[in-house]
Symmetry: none
């Protein structure tokens, strides 16, 4: 065979070798499974079958279940980090929460729970997640506050740090511990009763 069946695409995933194709299939399968059955009940055999891969291949690429899930979540996180400018601070905050709402509605609650569980077991994973996923959130929060300061909605002295301290905490508490939906009422309450008062103080 003179031409590969894959090289036909001139660009798009430039070095998309078999290697990467397998990684991708496995990560996708992991995301599906973790949402369907949760982290704990996702077996490596099931993962291998779903990804049309072999367990050997999986363990060749990752150290264990935790590492796979970490990478999968990180990937998913990168895909959706819009951070739209709605023109007002309140709008930006609600938009940010809306993103979380949509994510949860898709079943990411189980996924997040799975990841946090995995983080308790695997320190390397925990560090990774903190550095990459949470840091992504932080950057978004900072951008929201910066824009508000530029608009003159907030004093330059407003403590933007507070948002990414409080917002993720309460989101996770609601999702993971209380297991209540991230609905419009909750978003409004969070923004109007907690975040804005603290920022505008």
């Amino acid at each position: 065979m003179t031409t590969s069946t894959i090289d036909e695409l001139p660009v798009e995933a430039a070095f998309s070798c078999r290697f990467d194709e397998r990684r991708h299939a496995i990560l996708e399968a992991a995301l599906e499974l973790i949402v369907e059955v949760g982290y704990e009940r996702m077996s490596m055999d099931a993962l291998a079958e779903r990804a049309h891969a072999s367990k050997a291949t999986i363990y060749r690429h990752w150290d264990g279940k935790a590492a796979i899930v970490a990478e999968a979540v990180q990937k998913r996180q990168c895909e959706s980090l819009g951070n739209v400018d709605t023109g007002t601070l309140r709008g930006d905050l609600l938009s940010f929460l809306e993103e979380a709402r949509r994510s949860m509605a898709q079943g990411d609650g189980a996924l997040i729970a799975g990841v946090f569980q995995a983080m308790r077991t695997d320190d390397a994973l925990a560090t990774l997640m903190r550095e990459q996923v949470l840091e992504g959130k932080r950057i978004s929060c900072d951008a929201i506050v910066s824009r508000a300061v530029e608009r003159g909605e907030l004093a330059p002295t407003a403590n933007g740090e507070l948002i990414h301290e409080i917002l993720p905490s309460m989101l996770f508490m609601r999702i993971l511990v209380n297991n209540e939906p991230v609905d419009q009422a909750f978003c409004d309450h969070l923004v109007d009763d907690i975040l804005l008062p603290l920022l505008q103080r």
Copy 2:
């Protein structure tokens, strides 16, 4: 929590029959193990050995690992629920956090993480924990706010609800996700920069 499901015996286990003696030994062993190795790595075989009990006995008394841990945590929670009146709102809040600090220092972080993990798997446990443990925290928070209103530190319109929304969220986030210590600086920050401003608004 005014009445526990177990506290009914005023004289602490006066006629401690073999039955109760076994329950106690197993619960103690569970607490030890969950702190030492975490929920996930606590095996029932290890638990049985540590408690000098048989797995049959364990499964005779509880449905599974989750149920044991739930009861153990509940028990531990009942032991330490001071809620002292320090004379000021700020003092009460710091005292409340101090309690959490001490608990964490003893290794309860792993325990809490374990319980939350178990809650994802076992719905009955989750409901139980929400009703009993979290409700206990809520009552404490309410009491703190009530006393502040009586003292005139807070307007009667102050939203006491906010405390037990925000405080546990941020505590858990710090302990379970960020894995950072609940130190004095954090307590002060939480009280002075977040809780008090919101209550006194």
Copy 3:
């Protein structure tokens, strides 16, 4: 339950507890499988399923495939070690070979091949087999020669050792290497052209 469902048999396998029942089921399944598919293709999973046992149970009782097969073969060997007195040396020898013929016809060829293969890997097994199985054969051979000497068919100086040197060698060669049947012609040839001439020399 005051009386066990098994104790009813006063003798016959006096201590036939669950323990031994499992061993027996597994050994029987092993014999079946090794004859059906050979030693190499007998998987432990298949063995577990066939014996309605779990792999854990198998590995609790034996070190590995080799050890199971060793015990199974030893057991089978013990079951059939007739060594009948036919009245003549030639008759005894042919009877001895007839036993081998029957065994082979039942598919024991594959079993023996499997065991010898396992012996190359597992030294403990090899020693065990040499001591127990081959020694059983040796005793039978000695008995045949002793009876012939008593009858006066052989001089007391006849070297009985020769039988169990030559006979098993040629049997195994024919079965394992040449893969030819142990038929009547072969038995006659072995007895009349080789064994009797050497003994009567």
Copy 4:
């Protein structure tokens, strides 16, 4: 062995192309490995590494492990098939056994065991080995008897067949099953107590 399937090239691989160079390296590596670790524990990966070859190349040239080992053993066999005329029947027999002794001392025991094991799995290999290797032994035995008849040491009616029936059987039994050395005492015993008496009867 008058004609081999490979000997057709009179000039011994005169223009040893890369093709043949690879075959040779792999066969040599196979001989080394099978002697070092045995047939079972010789992995194809190890073989490829040892021969500085790729597994693809190996599987391009042979069907599997068995086929490689078959060819390697055949090659080794052809290298050493002296069959010297020592002037006496007894001398020829001992010389023949001496050859086996030397071979065994070099570690060919493991090799032979490996081949016999492979023969149980691979019928094509088994047939090949029986036809080529064992037939080689038979021809040597026949030659020894023929010379003895010519010398007048044996009657023309002596059954030469007996040698290659008994001799390889007892050699293999001793090597593979009993795992005892092929020492001088054994050779003498075999020749003086078994082979010569039967031939001279």
